[in-house]
């Protein structure tokens, strides 16, 4: 007994004296620890600390080697060959090799996976040897390596032994609560909605830039509460800072505000495919939003500058297309729909609804900056032209299932292109939903345009930048003409940290612990 106490004392003394424990708060808890189950920023951003892909994005969003050391095109655009890093092990000690890549491909491209559409251009994945894998594409695909930066590698043996060979979005499985990646941090505690604890992985292949010994994420849904926790020092970092508090925080020497423009465009979506409205007391058996004039009326009715001026306090830029100007392939010179309630009323009358109509607006209340307040403001603005929305705001874990079940007449959505390219939202939001081709997986309203569908594979395979841009421009103009969505604004990115914390903010709103240092 005495000897074991002595051993314990010795062991404690041997630990590094400084424990750099870091805690942070976000409004949204990552829904799952499964990197292939939900394609959303809270999940992918968090799991990038635990899992890794073949390539990763650096501080400037540039693509750099991760689990692959190099890659090169095969032949004349037949695909890409990746050379895997040797000597990489998962958190449980298993070695990483080509079989894990093949397994992760099959898992992430399976029907049960939300990441399925990332692999739409892939025809086949072939193991050449233990550390070489070929991705054969259906057409030349110049942006492929950059498009899989968030595709994370999972150990085949671990997943199969725990019955998690396929993701399970609805019911969850072992991989929903546990994680076993190759990343800089390993998951030690996961209590959904309460706390998630990470510790550095001693066997990480890369050199650690951080100086943390432990990191804990606590979701705090109320931004004001999170801010209070930051000011009192209970947490070291919060994302986001309530936009109304930026000015006051900037004057506080204990904290820093880190601001940037996020890649995320906030927009309204419509039920293009629906036969009838679901939540209308006065329109029976028809769907007014199927008429482009009604959708245009919506676009004219919303006073975006007023929303940005008051609710966003001048910290956001209006948007007229599905991507922000910072993205590759942004369409210049596109004209949005100006705020013009009279034009909106005229369009509604022309479409046969001079008195307007009632409908249901779905909105998250913990996903985007001031999302509920924005939806409330939109409700008021639409009411002024006779579009009487019943607002139903809910937490994000209820929100996505509602949208997937088509329970909406109009909905709010924010989209941040994972590839930083204008092709991304076309594939997810504008392409006709097609499970077979892995397209349109977030196109809840079922928008469909044959020309857009025909242009998408062309855009994906065209290498000439000018020709590619021309096609992207055509799609952007089509979507704007038909008002497939009503883009509202580009969301600002506002983080708050204690002044003794150094970290890196990326425009995709991913918070990576490997760049965090504590003084």
């Amino acid at each position: 007994m005495r000897r074991s106490i002595a051993a314990l004392v010795l062991a404690t003394a041997a630990l590094p004296l400084e424990a750099e424990e870091f805690t942070w708060a976000e409004t949204t808890d990552p829904q799952t620890m499964d990197p292939h189950a939900v394609n959303s920023t809270p999940v992918l951003g968090f799991l990038n600390n635990v899992y890794e892909g073949l390539v990763r994005r650096g501080k400037d969003m540039g693509i750099e080697p991760a689990l692959a050391t190099s890659w090169e095109p095969i032949g004349e655009g037949e695909g890409w060959r990746f050379t895997l890093r040797e000597g990489v092990s998962f958190h449980d000690g298993a070695a990483f090799d080509a079989d894990d890549v093949i397994f992760s491909y099959e898992r992430a491209a399976s029907e049960a996976a939300d990441t399925r559409s990332w692999f739409a251009p892939v025809a086949e994945v072939v193991k050449v040897d233990d550390h070489t894998v070929d991705f054969l594409t259906t057409a030349p695909n110049p942006i492929f390596p950059g498009s899989i930066a968030n595709w994370m590698m999972m150990d085949s043996g671990w997943a199969e032994a725990n019955g998690a060979a396929r993701p399970d979005k609805e019911n969850g499985n072992f991989a929903t609560l546990n994680a076993n990646g190759t990343g800089a941090f390993k998951l030690t505690t996961r209590e959904p909605g309460l706390r998630t604890v990470l510790e550095p992985f001693a066997g990480w292949w890369d050199e650690a830039e951080h100086n943390l010994t432990r990191a804990e994420l606590t979701p705090i849904q109320n931004p004001a509460t999170a801010l209070a926790a930051l000011l009192s020092g209970d947490v070291d970092f919060i994302n986001p800072v309530p936009i109304q508090d930026v000015a006051r925080l900037q004057a506080n020497p204990d904290v820093k505000v880190i601001q940037g423009i996020e890649a995320r465009v906030i927009m309204l979506g419509f039920p293009h495919e629906a036969e009838a409205l679901q939540y209308s007391a006065d329109v029976e058996g028809e769907n007014p939003f199927a008429d482009a004039r009604v959708r245009r009326a919506v676009a004219h009715a919303i006073n975006v500058p007023a929303i940005l001026q008051t609710i966003m306090r001048g910290n956001a830029e209006p948007a007229n297309q599905l991507v922000s100007p910072a993205m590759d392939g942004f369409t210049e010179g596109l004209e949005g729909y100006a705020y013009d309630p009279d034009a909106a009323r005229a369009l509604l009358a022309e479409a046969g609804y001079p008195e307007g109509f009632g409908f249901g607006l779905k909105c998250p209340n913990d996903r985007y900056l001031n999302d509920e307040a924005v939806c409330q403001a939109i409700t008021g603005m639409l009411a002024q032209v006779g579009l009487r929305a019943t607002l139903d705001a809910m937490p994000v874990q209820n929100y996505w299932p509602e949208l997937r079940a088509d329970n909406f007449d109009m909905y709010l959505l924010g989209w941040s292109p994972g590839t930083f390219d204008a092709e991304h939202p076309i594939r997810f939001l504008a392409a006709t939903p097609n499970d077979e081709k892995k397209l349109g997986s977030w196109n809840f309203g079922g928008y469909s345009n044959a020309r857009v569908d025909a242009l998408l594979p062309e855009i994906q395979s065209t290498i000439d930048a000018g020709a590619r841009q021309a096609m992207l421009d055509e799609v952007a103009r089509t979507l704007a003409d038909e008002v497939a969505y009503v883009p509202l604004y580009v969301q600002p990115l506002v983080w708050g940290v204690r002044s003794n914390v150094e970290l890196t903010q990326r425009p995709d709103n991913f918070f990576l612990l490997r760049w965090v240092t504590l003084d």
Partner: protein
């Protein structure tokens, strides 16, 4: 305190009480009069809200977002309009919203207490009068419910009710669901007090006499026992009213009560809480003060009522 109220309770006492002792006690208590004045003022101004309020905050079409975050009595930077108590994040006039929101708070409070009272009195009379297994079932159910915090019970009922109502009627239903949820979480107190009082009353001669002349149990309970157990019920009802108003505010504060487009006092406080750090204090301050004044004066009135109606304090 009083000299002539030692006579045993008899039917019609309440009325005579009001004409003599009760009213006299009221005029002697500045706290009671002040609380009554505050309650009367708040109730009246919320009833007359459409006449007093300069805007209708429940009509989303009338809002101008550019008026958002206007400070009290200061002109808005964009529209030049000025508001007595400022505006919230949606450009709603806080003063008008308080008047309209108080209507919801008061209506929910009164209706929920009424519902709890009717339910509690009925069950309390039944279990006190019949005893046996009726009493066992009712009072054990009451005991079980007492082990849960009433706000939890209300949230549970609210959640279930929200799940079963169609979305297009949710906004209209929300108020009724609130009343139902708060009322159902609050009946136990009434039932316990009424049962206790009934047990005492039914051993008295007048009840035995009523039984002897062959009156039916319902008649005995309603005509004879009920009037004699009403005064403690009245006290509980007043205190419950304050609690129900706070319960409604709590539920709305937690985001499960009144819809955001029809804010009650609790919803307003929830909205205002988000702007505590940023300096827009008025969005929280005025609704919170109103809620405080309302709940406090109703509570003080209830306290005074308890003392005034308590024969042991005389």
């Amino acid at each position: 305190m009083m000299s002539d109220s030692t006579t045993p309770p008899a039917p019609g006492r309440f009325r005579r009480f009001r004409e003599s002792d009760f009213f006299y006690a009221f005029t002697r208590s500045p706290v009671a009069m002040a609380s009554f004045a505050v309650v009367a003022l708040l109730v009246l101004s919320s009833l007359l809200a459409p006449l007093i309020a300069p805007y209708n905050p429940f009509d989303p079409a009338s809002l101008n977002l550019m008026n958002g975050f206007t400070a009290p009595l200061a002109p808005n930077a964009f529209t030049g309009e000025s508001f007595l108590m400022g505006t919230d994040d949606q450009g709603r006039d806080v003063f008008s919203t308080i008047l309209y929101g108080m209507r919801i708070s008061l209506f929910v409070g009164f209706a929920a207490v009424l519902f709890a009272m009717v339910l509690g009195i009925t069950l309390g009379l039944l279990s006190g009068y019949f005893g046996g297994w009726v009493e066992t079932i009712i009072m054990r159910a009451a005991d079980i419910q007492l082990t849960f915090p009433s706000i939890l019970v209300a949230m549970l009922i609210f959640g279930v009710a929200k799940g079963v109502t169609p979305v297009e009627y949710r906004d209209e239903m929300a108020i009724w669901v609130l009343i139902f949820a708060i009322g159902l979480s609050d009946w136990v107190q009434f039932a316990r007090v009424v049962r206790g009082a009934t047990l005492v009353e039914q051993g008295k001669d007048y009840v035995a006499a009523a039984r002897l002349i062959g009156q039916r149990p319902t008649t005995i309970m309603i005509r004879h026992i009920l009037p004699n157990v009403l005064s403690p019920v009245l006290v509980i009802a007043t205190i419950s009213l304050a609690l129900a108003i706070i319960a409604e505010a709590t539920l709305s504060f937690l985001g499960v009560g009144a819809p955001p487009t029809q804010p009650s006092l609790g919803t307003l406080i929830r909205i205002g809480q988000g702007y505590l750090f940023s300096g827009e204090w008025w969005i929280l301050f005025f609704p919170a003060c109103t809620l405080l004044a309302l709940a406090l004066s109703v509570n003080l009135l209830g306290d005074w009522l308890r003392d005034a109606l308590n024969p042991r304090l005389k």
